[in-house]
Amino acid sequence: MASLEIKGVKKRFGTQEILKGIDISVDAGEFLVLVGPSGCGKSTLLNMIAGLDTVSEGDIVVAGNRVNDLHPSERDIAMVFQSYALYPNMSVEQNIAFSMEMRKVPKPEREAAVRDVAKILQLEHLLKRRPSQLSGGQRQRVAMGRALVRKPKIFLFDEPLSNLDAQLRVDMRTEIKKLHQRLGTTIVYVTHDQIEAMTLATRIAVMRGGELQQLGTPAELYNRPANTFVAGFMGSPRMNLAPAQLVGAGDNLSLEIQLGERPKARIPLPPQPEPLRAYAGKPVIAGLRAEAISYGSKANGAGNSLQRKVEAQVEVIEPTGPDTLVVLDLGGYEFTARLDPDLTLKPGDRAEFNVDLAKLVCFDPGTERLIA
C-alpha cells in the first residue's frame, strides 16, 4: 500500500489556480523530493499534505486514510521547517516533548521518548538549553528530533537547509540521508536546490507553475528529462540545449547546428530509434550534457562507436579544480563542456571535440517535450 497518495489535487486561491492537478504516489520508505523554482507550488503542496492549507479539489491519502478534513495533528505526520520553528521560550527537552504534552502523554513516557530521540541525534548534552543558545546545525537536529519523537508515518521537510551556510548544508544533507537509511520512514522533502534533490531523493518530482513536470528517479530525470525545462533545471552545469536541424533520412541522420551566418556545425548521428527518425528534415532541440563533450586522446570512451567529432571554438575557460568547464561556440550556440583539468586550450582556439551521443536527447521545438 502506498504510504502517501496525492490524487488529482488542485488548489485555488480566489480565481487563481496555484496547483493544477497533481498526482503522485509515494511508497513506504521512499524519499520523495519536490523541487522547482520559486512559486511553482511545491511548498503549497507540502502544506496541504500537512493540513496547514485546505485542498480545493482532490484527495490526500495517508496510509490508506483520506485526511483532507483532518487537523494536522491527527494526520500522523511531522514537519521540519526552514526556520526550524523551535519554541524560543522552551528548552530543547520541552521543545521535543511538546507534542506529547498536547496529547497528554504522562511525564515518564515523555521523558523516555525524549531521551531516545536525543540519543539518535546526539542531543543529550543539549537538552536543557534554549534554542537561542544553539548553533544552526544543532537547531536543525532539535527540529528533526521534535519530528522524530512523534513516530509519524510521513516526515515533511520544508527547505530545511536553506538557512545554513554552504559547508554545513553539505554536512546536514548527509545527516538527513543517514537518518533516512537508518529509520526507513517515508519522507517528502521540498527544496529549490536541484543538487539536494539529486543526492537525497529516491524519486524526484519537478514542479513548475503548479504542474508536475516529471516524476522519476534522479537518473531518469538526469538522463531522460521529460521536457526542456527539466533538462535545464536538473544538473549543474545545465544541459546544453540548442536548436538543430535533423538532416538526412533513415540510418544516416545528422544534426546541423547553425546560428545565422556562423560556421555550421554538423554532427553525424549513429542509428536512432523510430520516434526521432520521424523528425528527419525537421527542426529539433538537441540536448547534450557537459560531460558528453570531451577533447584529446584522453577523451571519454575513446573508440566508442557512439562518438563523433565536431569542430568548435573555445570562448571561455573556467577551471573548477576537478574539471575545467569550457564554453564552446558550436555552430553559433554556446555549449559548456566538462573537460580535463589539465587542458591546454586557450580562448579563441578552434579544435575538434568528441561528442558522446549515447546520451543525446532531442526535444520537439513546439511542445518542448522529449522525443522518446
Binding site: K11, F13, I18, S43, T44, N47, G51, L52, D53, T54, N68, D69, L70, H71, P72, E74, Q82
Partner: protein, 309 residues
Amino acid sequence: MATSYTEMPAAPATPGFGARLQQLLPKLVLSPTVLITLFFVYGFIVWTTYLSFTKSRGYPVHELVGWLQYSRVWAQPRWHVAIHNLAVFGALYVTICLFLGLLLAILLDQRIRQEGTVRAIFLYPMAISFIVTGTAWKWMLNPGLGLEKLVRDWGWTDFTFDWIVNEDMAIYTVVIAGVWQASGFVMAMFLAGLRGIDQDIIKAASIDGATMPRIYWRIILPQLRPVFLSSLVILAHLAIKSYDLVVALTGGGPGYATDLPSTFMYAHTFTRNQLGMGAASAVMMLLTVAAIMVPFLYSEVRGPRTATE
C-alpha cells in the same frame, strides 16, 4: 517569505459541536471588540449626530429641528472665537513643533554623549498629564509670581509678560505650553527617521563634494517626508482634541478668549444644558478630524511601501 496563501487548518477529526466551535473560536474571540466598536464608536457617533438635529437642551428630546442647533452654534461669538483660536493655535502648534522637533532631532543625531538622558529630557513632558502641565505653566506665566517677576527681579523692571491674562495674547500661552509638551514626540519621530536613512547615500554625496548643510537640505530632509507627514497629521489631530491643556492653563479664559471647540462643546453639554448645541459642535469636531485623518490613512494603507518595509 511569508506565504500569503497559508490559511489556518481544517476542522479536527471529531465532527459535531466541538469541531464547529473550534472553527468559530477566532471569530468569537474577536467579536466582543467588534461589537463594542460598532456600538460605542459608530453607534455613538450616529446617536450624537442625531441629537445634533434635535431640540435637546437639558436632556434628549426627540424632536427634529433640522439645522437649527448648527446655526445656533454659529450664531455664538464664542464659537467664532473658538474656531479662530483653533486655527491660530493649530497652525502655530504644528509648525513650531515640527521645526523644533526636527532641530532637536538633528542635534541629537550628532553622536551626543548621554544621548539617552538628553532624549529623556525632551520627551518627559509627554508622559505627564496635561492638567499637571497646565498647572505648572500657569504658575510660571503668572504675571506677579512667575517669569515676569523673575525677569524684573533680575533688573529689567519694565518687563511685562502678562499674556496669560491678556485677551489677545492668552492663546499664545497655550501654544507655548502645547509645544513644550509635544515637540519631544516629534523629535523622537524624526530621530527614528534620521536613523533609518541609508548611510551609503550620504557617503556617496560626501565623496561627490557636497557640504553638510547641502546634504541635509537636498538628501536627508527629502527622505524625511513620510515622517513630516505622519507628525503633521498626528499633531493636527492632537491640536483639535486639545482640551485638558486649555482647562488647566487658562480655563478657557480670560472670559472665553482661549476657548477651543472642545471646551465649547463641554461647556454647552454639561454646564449650560444645551445638548443639541454640544452635539452639533462635537459633530463638527469629528468632521474636521476626519478631513485630516481619512486621506492620510487612505494613502498610508494604499500607497507604496517605503524601502524600509
